[in-house]
């Protein structure tokens, strides 16, 4: 892996917003992100006062806790050149929704807007800002899941594909429903499990129909949902986060797979 041209600052100081799921379920994605960002020439720091972006509260209508968590994140990530998250959903929360949480006159509004302007989803940051040039080699036939928030709130669509083009041997086979929701929806999947299952089954069927044995995506929530359902149904589909593949961390067990 090497880096091509960088936008100024030459070696940006990045605050990694790990995201709660990556932090607790699959830290490897966080380390993949660090590896990719450092290889692209960035300095990565991880503020320890981070927990979650607040979406569980935000999407449940709990405005007070959402604002408290947002203020915490704004505080923890002050001063970085960029804030990068290995998730379109969490980056979308910081970028699109934090400013809306505060009234125009509230001093937190300006701070939220400042954070929003510095926040990026990992893969689009690597492609669009760092213009990272990724070189790797991994023979696999993969299909892609465009997670909803990254796609529709941040326009993450071509960037992961252009980065993956640097991995020799990796063939990407697009499913016609790549942009359709997987049925995760945060707390939706536990509040309306039957409907969620129906939706993820359609996703699995469409992925399987491509003939790919691997599904890649940039949001761990979706990937856990898809992998968990594939395993329950016995669908032979490996599920991995794109960052892990780009960072060459393909010797890890796939999401939901064991070591034994």
């Amino acid at each position: 892996m090497n880096t091509s041209s960088l936008q100024p600052p030459a070696s940006p100081r990045i605050g990694l917003f790990v995201t709660c799921l990556v932090d607790v379920v699959r830290p490897s994605i966080g380390f993949a992100a660090v590896r990719l960002l450092e290889a692209a020439g960035a300095r990565v720091e991880v503020p320890l006062a981070q927990t979650c972006c607040g979406q569980p509260a935000y999407n449940s209508g709990d405005r007070e806790d959402t604002c408290a968590i947002a203020r915490q994140v704004i505080e923890a990530f002050a001063g970085f050149d960029y804030v990068v998250a290995p998730s379109g959903s969490c980056a979308g929360m910081l970028r699109r929704h934090y400013p809306e949480l505060f009234e125009t006159a509230d001093p937190w509004r300006a701070r939220a807007e400042d954070l929003a302007g510095r926040t990026w989803e990992l893969l689009s940051f690597l492609a669009d800002v760092m213009q990272a040039d990724i070189v790797g080699d991994w023979p696999a036939r993969a299909t892609y899941h465009d997670a909803c928030s990254g796609l529709r709130e941040l326009g993450v669509k071509t960037q992961p594909r252009s980065l993956l083009a640097g991995i020799a041997g990796l063939e990407l086979i697009e499913a016609p429903t790549a942009e359709t929701c997987c049925g995760f929806g945060g707390t939706f999947c536990v509040k309306y499990p039957d409907i969620s299952t129906k939706i993820v089954d359609a996703k699995l069927d469409d992925a399987a129909a491509t003939g790919a044995g691997l599904l890649l995506g940039g949001d761990l929530g979706c990937l856990m949902n898809i992998a968990g359902r594939a395993k329950r149904r016995g669908v032979p589909l490996e599920v991995r986060h794109t960052a892990e593949v780009l960072a060459g961390m393909t010797d890890l067990p796939a999401i939901g797979s064991g070591r034994g």
Binding site: V25, D65, R259
Partner: protein
């Protein structure tokens, strides 16, 4: 209409087990979403038209009183009458009074969601007037005593065999041995049955896709021409519409028409677009001798100027239903009231109350596809979240959900405590599931593990590992 939205969970379970429904929903994509995408791509100015359509509706909502009064003045100038109705009761009574005055025994109807909202058919029947639905889909579900399950495809939940069985049960005067194999033969049978009813009806009741203030016209859009027969053949035409259907000018109407059919079915125009103005003039070849417009508020005016005003921009194209993964899984009836899909989940709480419709705003993954295709750019995910905030404020969510959220938020607001707790829990879970890589069953995650494995944590959290790394990172 009586709501069953409180039974949303049961309704949706039934829907998921309904094989013909599931088969029908499987065709949503090829029938609607693909065609909408092609139609949008063929028109370079489509996105700009969506902006214009949004702006027209916003302008109307900001000056609703002015345009409604202008509309009334122009209807009256064309020989018509406008009836202002606050709620369903007033609207039903108004329609019934007009029917009685006309000495009506039967009333033909073209598709109207407002008449569903006010349960007009039941009221007419109870008062000795037979309502006859003339849209093919509406005709089918009327025979089956069902309600529409989609804004523009009311019988989308049924397959051909079910329609055949319905016709055989209803049309007992026809030879039992007749061949109804082909969809065409079903269509022709309905057409023959309806032709007589069109000619006999005393009153014709239509909805209106738009009301035009500058001319006093109503606009109807159909693919079957049934609205035209409904409004021109009987002596009396009643158009019923809610107040937000008003647009200022003919030109505004055509702007909305350019996004309406494309968003709904992918057609450039529906087959029949009709502008009806006033009653029959002396030199007109046909038309009703009386023209009434029943304007329903039905809770809309209370939404003006509030946090949910944007949903009154809706032009009922159905695109948000067609693109919604939840609607695509359960269809329309599970939502339990007139309107389904994302717009239903936003509109229903506004019209019948959030306590009654508490299950609906949560029934969305917030995937955002509805907003991405809405021809008038209604921010549906934001409005769904706003309803969730109302529910939270009023304590309408389940105790378990509130407790879980409260506990999580308590920890998430205290990073040090959070680190300590998740650090321990993830180490234990990681060790438990190291071999299998996932959990088949976890007592505190039953909603998740009912139908899927829960991928197990790797073990030590990222932050714990990062903190342990040597180096100058903070």
């Amino acid at each position: 209409m009586q709501s069953t939205t409180r039974l949303f969970d049961d309704n949706s379970r039934k829907a998921l087990a309904d094989a013909p429904l599931q088969q029908a929903l499987g065709k949503l994509s090829s029938n609607f979403t693909v065609k909408r995408a092609l139609a949008a791509a063929r028109l370079p100015e489509f996105e700009a038209l969506r902006d214009q359509a949004r702006d027209i509706k916003d302008h109307v909502l900001a000056h609703l009183d002015i345009y409604l009064e202008r509309f009334e003045a122009n209807v009256v100038a064309q020989g018509g009458v406008v009836h202002w109705c606050r709620d369903a009761d007033e609207a039903r009574a108004t329609v019934l009074a007009i029917c009685h005055e006309a000495g009506a025994r039967t009333a033909t109807k073209s598709k109207s969601m407002i008449t569903e909202e006010i349960a007009l058919n039941d009221h007419l029947e109870a008062n000795g007037i037979e309502p006859i639905e003339t849209d093919l889909g509406e005709y089918i579900i009327q025979l089956r005593h069902e309600h529409p399950s989609h804004l523009i495809a009311p019988a989308i939940h049924l397959n051909k065999n079910q329609v055949e069985a319905t016709f055989r049960a209803a049309h007992t005067d026809l030879p039992p041995g007749r061949n109804l194999e082909e969809p065409r033969s079903l269509l022709e049978e309905a057409r023959a049955k309806l032709r007589r009813r069109f000619l006999d009806a005393d009153v014709g009741i239509t909805g209106a896709n738009m009301l035009i203030a500058e001319t006093g016209s109503i606009v109807t859009v159909t693919n079957e021409g049934n609205a035209d027969l409904t409004m021109t053949l009987p002596r009396v035409h009643i158009a019923i519409a809610s107040i937000e259907k008003i647009v200022p000018t003919l030109e505004d109407a055509t702007t909305l028409l350019r996004v309406l059919a494309r968003s709904a079915t992918g057609q450039e125009n529906s087959v029949y677009t009709t502008f009806a103005t006033g009653s029959r003039r002396t030199d007109d070849a046909d038309g009703p001798s009386a023209f009434h417009v029943v304007l329903l508020d039905g809770g809309r005016s209370s939404l003006i100027g509030g946090a949910f005003q944007d949903m009154l921009r809706c032009i009922r194209c159905g695109a948000c239903l067609n693109h919604c993964p939840v609607y695509g899984a359960i269809g329309g009836h599970a939502y339990g009231w007139v309107y389904s899909g994302p717009i239903g989940s936003v509109l229903t709480p506004g019209l019948i109350g959030i306590a009654e419709a508490a299950k609906l705003p949560g029934a969305s993954t917030l995937c955002g596809r509805c907003e991405a295709v809405c021809p008038v750019r209604i921010p549906l995910p934001r409005l769904l979240r706003q309803w969730r905030e109302k529910e939270f404020e009023q304590g309408l969510q389940s105790k378990t959900a509130r407790f879980g959220l409260g506990l999580w938020a308590f920890l998430a607001r205290r990073p040090q405590l959070y680190r300590a707790v998740v650090g321990v829990v993830m180490r234990i879970l990681g060790r438990l599931a190291r071999r299998h890589g996932s959990f088949y069953n976890l007592p505190f995650a039953a909603g998740w593990t009912a139908d899927r494995e829960l991928p197990a944590p790797e073990g030590r959290t990222f932050i714990d590992q990062w903190r342990a790394r040597a180096g100058g990172h903070r």
